[in-house]
Subunit: 217 residues, 2 copies
């Protein structure tokens, strides 16, 4: 153990501070390794504490730490969607996407492992957390579009695009983060516009919206 | 047990016939219920055999039966993609999609449970089976497009669309199979065309392809 890693153990932390410290150590580890490759010893070492101390705060062990880290990451991801409700719509979408892709960039391995499924730490709870983020993203988009009662076509279009963005993120990580992030962001915004235009031909609500987007530009 | 359900037990079946019979019973049950709602007793009753007999063929119990049923369903799904390589491309895609949506229709509950994740029977093996079908779908599309060395943009576009189709299928099931299947099929084909057109503006390979598709019509 390096002296610097051990330092935190010498300070008396409050329960809340200690919990946050352990969680942050776990978050960093889970972001850049698969859950299979993270042990409680790794978390203890990264936080500069003993393994029993980790267990005192997280008696459920790795599974509990993983879920806590995931909830914390999900919270961070939701903040990516925060965007003032003024100015043209597509640049708002582009800014939110930019923050989302930065998040993906910074949590690469963990993000892939989580979304590729079949992980040992995957449970109905972790699935619910991920689904919650997806739902939040769809609600954000619909609320920015100023649609209070979105019909089936529009909801389906937004959710299809969100899933396509997820797929694109995973492929992007697989491909060594190519094309460059800005290109990917603009391409995805263009896909959003195109997919809305297709739906507009089938659905009056989406048609009205597509018209507003065009007027916006 | 009804007499008709019990009938198969009175005939001596070969090992292979018996295995197929049990698997078919399992497939039907897993298609219309969540894995959580299917017990080995249900499979035994549906096949008109005893529970120990099911265990003799599938010593791994429900998990093994589920995986065997999933492999069999995946095989069936791959056949949906079989399509002669002549005639315009978009109608070929429409026909394959039509068979895929019929499959989704006929395996509704099981399809949702499988793709929504977090199920008790989900393992790295079930995930690999599902991923294999996704990869097969992408390869089929690229081979119909006559692209031997697809670049990053084109691969990404095809995989994004496949994921969007999956998302659309799940929402379609959630929404009581609305809009009608034919509408959904045509809408998804239009989305494919639109998403290729967007990528065409960024990638010469896709641009050449989009031109061929337009000439096709």
């Amino acid at each position: 153990m390096t002296p610097s890693a051990a330092t935190p153990a010498y300070r008396r932390l409050s329960v809340e501070e200690r919990r946050t410290q352990l969680l942050n150590a776990a978050l960093t580890l889970f972001a850049h390794r698969t859950p299979e490759d993270v042990s409680l010893d790794d978390v203890a070492e990264a936080a500069g504490v003993s393994r029993p101390l980790v267990y005192r705060y997280f008696p459920g062990g790795k599974q509990q730490l993983y879920e806590a880290a995931l909830r914390s990451a999900a919270e961070e991801l939701r903040h990516c969607f925060d965007e003032p409700r003024d100015g043209p719509l597509l640049p708002r979408l582009a800014r939110a996407l930019d923050r989302y892709l930065t998040f993906v960039d910074e949590h690469d391995t963990g993000f892939s492992a989580l979304l590729q499924g079949g992980s040992v730490v995957e449970t109905s709870r972790t699935t619910a957390i991920v689904d919650g983020v997806r739902r939040a993203a769809a609600e954000h988009i619909l609320s920015h579009l100023d649609v209070t009662d979105p019909g089936r076509h529009l909801r389906m279009t937004v959710r299809m695009w969100i899933t396509a963005v997820e797929a694109a993120s995973l492929i992007w990580l697989d491909e060594g983060k190519q094309p460059p992030r800005d290109d990917l962001r603009d391409w995805l915004v263009e896909q959003f516009e195109a997919t809305l235009a297709v739906t507009a031909a089938r659905d009056p609500q989406t048609a009205a919206l597509a018209q507003r987007l065009t007027a916006d530009e």
